[in-house]
């Protein structure tokens, strides 16, 4: 985890740090710029550390092994979804369908587990990969806005889910002893498999973003799509792939959640896209694309998770408070980010 967020985020072509300021006393200004850009990138990590520190002082039960493992496990599903969302947002797009795809992935996996483990893994990835491909094709080939396209696949995937489950009346149960269930239920010591799977995916995602041509193309598209096309980068292929990736990761998150719950719950994932987008934005990725890190997203996910945990610890507060805090947080982060990136560009 720390290695993921520890890698410098010097990947964006439009890295504002390289642009020297021309106004004000040189050194002071550039130091301020450095602070601004560091805050934008590492802000979520700093706030996460402060929140964890404060919560451990305040609640005795917070900084315990059991509670921390619990937070990690419960947020590993969202983390996987948010990883895919990070890539989509880095290209300047958005994927609102992930919540429905998450639920669909879980249900198809639970259905497949009734046959055998291979079907349980392959079938949801095929179905959801196809949805991602549809998103990508409609956005890239037909030139429709990502927002609208993924909004309709949000509807359509939910519809497909309902038609597979007799309008939501049927819940597929994963047979006891199915090896598919170990994906969600297996543990190493006290740590559940989903935590390791999520970390491994973040490792791969970070390398993919920062060390491969694909990752560089993603960032280039987000910085300036026309320029990326003119430079001859494989823009169409990359954009389509990013949406396929997002759907696959959302499905995988849902599959792990289904494996953990031993059933394909039909009502999960509603509003999950909002949590994923919040985590990405809080993690310092600009919604205009081109700038951001996978490590920041992970910190954003954990921050949301820690806040939820604190709200649960306080007790007597229901999930509505979580929504209020998340919304307020999002506003503050977006405003601060806009100011910070403005400062760097000046």
């Amino acid at each position: 985890m720390s290695s993921a967020s520890g890698v410098p985020a010097r990947t964006g072509q439009a890295d504002p740090m390289t642009i020297e300021s021309e106004s004000g006393p040189g050194l002071g200004q550039s130091r301020r710029e450095v602070v601004a850009s560091t805050l934008q990138r590492r802000g979520s990590l700093v706030v996460l550390a402060l929140t964890v520190f404060g919560a451990s002082l305040y609640f005795d039960s917070f900084f315990t092994r059991g509670n921390l493992t619990n937070i990690a496990l419960q947020n590993s599903f969202l983390a996987v979804v948010a990883l895919g969302m990070t890539f989509v947002i880095l290209t300047g797009g958005i994927d609102l369908s992930v919540g429905s795809v998450y639920a669909l992935g879980g249900v198809v996996a639970a259905w497949g587990a009734g046959h055998n483990t291979l079907v349980a893994i392959v079938a949801p990835l095929l179905v959801c990969g196809a949805i991602g491909l549809l998103n990508g094709l409609l956005i890239e080939r037909a030139g429709l806005p990502p927002f609208i396209v993924t909004l309709t696949t949000l509807l359509a995937a939910r519809g497909l889910l309902l038609s597979l489950t007799q309008e939501g009346a049927k819940t597929y149960i994963i047979p006891t002893g199915s090896s598919f269930a170990t994906i969600g239920q297996g543990t190493v010591g006290t740590l559940g498999y989903p935590i390791f799977i999520a970390l491994a995916l973040y490792g791969v995602g970070t390398v993919l973003l920062q060390r491969t041509a694909f990752g560089q193309t993603v960032l280039a598209i987000g910085s300036n799509e026309d320029a990326a096309r003119l430079m001859g980068l494989p823009v169409p292929r990359t954009k389509i792939l990013v949406y396929v990736m997002s759907s696959l990761l959302a499905a995988w998150g849902g599959m792990m959640a289904a494996a953990q719950a031993s059933s394909g719950v039909t009502i999960v994932g509603v509003g999950l896209e909002l949590s994923a987008i919040s985590a990405v934005v809080i993690g310092g990725t600009l919604l205009t694309g081109g700038v951001g890190t996978t490590g920041g997203t992970l910190a954003g996910v954990l921050l949301l998770g820690v806040i939820q945990n604190i709200i649960n610890q306080i007790g007597g507060l229901d999930s509505s408070y979580q929504a209020v805090v998340n919304g307020a947080f999002l506003v503050v982060v977006v405003v601060v980010q806009t100011f910070l990136s403005r400062r760097q560009r000046l």
Partner: protein, 317 residues
């Protein structure tokens, strides 16, 4: 060569015509289909029910059309409805006027916050209004709590009463639609709105009050959403902050886009939006009356939205 150009021009003209009038064609088509499949569906009584049901979406869509006209989007409308319905019963003690004023006030406040984030801070509309979509619903639940019945005769009369056999709320929706149409077509503000949506930078350079226009547009959207919240509450005779207005942003955006307002801004079609809202309502109830399942209904609606957006898209090229 000239024949080719002419043919191309005709195709373009046809696309253009389809973009502008497709929604009316579709509306007639769906009515004819209903007439063939299930004549009782097209009876005055049944159509009246459709009218009543479409009112909240329609009112929200009017504000959405203005926002989309400026190349923006307002995802917070459903949460504004929830906030309005949560606050309304709390302040009914000061009379209906007091309660409604507070409910509309929260709409204006949310709209002002949206507008400030978009126009002054420079946040993308999707993100700015997304934050309020998440937070607003939570706040409404915190304030309003669980569903509660409302026993206010004035409000309930407004929700269920009629004027010359037309429900009050339908009259209200028609008046609001006329007002918004007037605003867009006949006022300076309407011209400025379309100009800002068409080219924000040029509008700025031309000396238009871009910030003020944007903030006003989001305030209007919030206000109209709050009105929709009050109307829905009066009709239900109950306040249900957790459920009211869920996913209404999707329905409203669909109505606007189907009605011929491009998502790229610079053009607002109010009559089209009204027709779009009514079309989607009719499609939904037709699918339901033909005993199609929820799942199929959702998938069909998704397909219709994609087709509508695709047809609108060709305008730019």
């Amino acid at each position: 060569m000239t024949a080719l150009t002419a043919a191309r021009a005709r195709v373009r003209l046809d696309t253009r015509w389809l973009q502008d009038n497709g929604v009316y064609v579709a509306l007639v088509a769906i009515l004819l289909i209903d007439l063939a499949l299930n004549p009782s569906f097209v009876s005055p009584g049944s159509l009246r029910t459709q009218l009543i049901q479409v009112v909240p979406v329609l009112i929200v869509a009017l504000g959405m059309a203005l926002v989309i006209g400026t190349e923006g989007i307002d995802l917070s409308v459903g949460s504004v409805m929830a906030l309005a319905t949560a606050l309304l019963p709390l302040y009914l003690g000061y009379g209906v006027v007091g309660g409604v004023a507070v409910a509309l006030g929260i709409g204006i406040a949310v709209g002002a916050l949206n507008g400030w984030l978009v126009a002054v801070i420079g946040v993308q509309p999707i993100v700015a209004t997304l934050a309020l979509l998440v937070g607003g619903r939570g706040l409404a639940n915190v304030i309003g709590g669980s569903q509660k019945d409302i026993h206010n005769t004035t409000l309930n009369h407004f929700g269920g009463g009629e004027l010359f056999n037309i429900p009050y709320i339908v009259v209200l929706a028609a008046v609001l639609a006329a007002l918004v149409a007037f605003l867009v077509r006949r006022t300076t503000f309407g011209r400025q709105l379309v100009a800002v949506g068409g080219n924000r930078v040029a509008s700025q350079l031309a000396g238009l009050p871009v910030r003020r226009v944007l903030i006003t547009v989001y305030i209007l959207s919030g206000l109209l959403a709050a009105v929709a919240g009050v109307v829905a509450t009066a009709r239900l005779q109950a306040s249900a902050p957790d459920q009211l207005g869920r996913n209404i942003e999707l329905a409203a955006i669909t109505a606007v886009v189907v009605g011929g307002t491009p998502l790229t801004g610079g053009r607002v079609r109010i009559l089209g939006t009204v027709a779009g809202a009514f079309l989607m309502q009719l499609i939904q109830s037709t699918l339901i009356s033909e005993n199609l399942k929820d799942s199929v209904t959702q998938m069909v609606q998704a397909a219709i939205i994609i087709v509508a957006v695709y047809v609108q898209r060709s305008r730019q090229s």
